[in-house]
Symmetry: C2
């Protein structure tokens, strides 16, 4: 017997290279009822990415049109590219009691909290050390030296915003970090404020 | 690498017979670093109970003396017996980063929240139905008919206070309920507010 509930918005933020993408993927694989939020972006598609799955790859013009119509829950410019979360598919999932995972930065988190605070649970993932972070960025071999330096600078700035998050993890071990996120997801599902069917359940119970 | 943290106070409340005691026992068996809070009580020791483990069985006089000295985190009179939680052993555990489990009613929960709000995570366990609750009370065969009727009446009253709790579970299946409590315990351990070592960790990380 489950009490019907509203879905929740689970935010995972971290500096690039702190393991957020791997953790997100593993949590999504292991958990039913949790879906990745797909963002729209103006950045170029990478070789391993799929349009409509990793991102909706849109033109600058299309992006500005969506922003103008207020279709984004949050949007931001990062390294010269625009990223935004279309609101409608998220609201539809929440209403069905499905949970949505967000891989966004602190700016997006602030915007989501402003618009949807009671629905949000936010997690910040710290690297065990900055040296480890740099090693991971280099191992990815996606970026040239200049971009790596930019990302390291941005990492420090991103980390300075840990104070806006509900939960903080250190990713020393991916499996442990995944387990912690899974605990957070399941705990948050049982928060009183999400249990829309609770009053009805209790009335029926004691009525 | 773990960030040092303060322990948390995990409260489990439910009407008698909703399974709270079984759930507490199983969670304690499975989880390291979590300890049962031992209450003082003036009620008579049952055959299967151990003084100092299940309760500190104290005289009415001793209880009133402790209450007078402000030694309780919470205390209440239930069915004519006094129950109280000695504060000192709890504070000592929390300071060591250990977590403490409380099996108390809504009155105790209110008092604990007043005194220690940031350290508290509170869970209310609902029975799947009142019929099921009555069946469980009768199966326990601890109480005579009069007491069962009193407990059923008290259950309805207890349930009416679900609004003061952070998390709500329905105990349709003990193993599932245990798993949910474990998720809550682990999630709460990673809440930013408990991570006393966080500022130091971040300073060292980006410094």
């Amino acid at each position: 017997m489950e009490i019907s509930r509203k879905g929740l918005m689970l935010i995972l933020s971290s500096p690039s290279g702190a393991g957020k993408t791997t953790i997100s993927r593993k949590v999504l694989e292991a958990q039913k009822g949790l879906f990745m939020s797909v963002s729209a972006t103006t950045r170029k598609m990478r070789a391993n990415e799929v349009d409509g799955k990793d991102y909706y790859f849109v033109s600058e013009e299309k992006f500005q049109e969506m922003a103008g119509k207020g279709e984004f829950l949050e949007h931001a410019n990062v390294f010269g590219n625009n990223y935004g979360t279309p609101a409608k598919p998220v609201y539809e999932r929440l209403a069905r009691g499905e949970d949505v995972l967000f891989d966004i930065d602190w700016q997006g988190t602030m915007q989501l909290k402003e618009k949807c605070k009671p629905d949000v649970a936010s997690v910040f993932i710290l690297p065990p050390s900055m040296k480890e972070l740099e090693t991971r960025l280099r191992a990815r071999a996606l970026d040239d030296e200049k971009v790596i330096n930019e990302r390291m600078g941005k990492a420090t700035s991103e980390i300075s915003h840990w104070g806006i998050y509900d939960y903080i993890l250190v990713n020393s071990n991916v499996e442990e970090a995944v387990e912690k996120v899974v605990h957070i997801l399941h705990a948050e599902r049982n928060r009183k404020k999400r249990l829309l069917g609770l009053e009805g359940f209790v009335s029926k119970l004691v009525g």
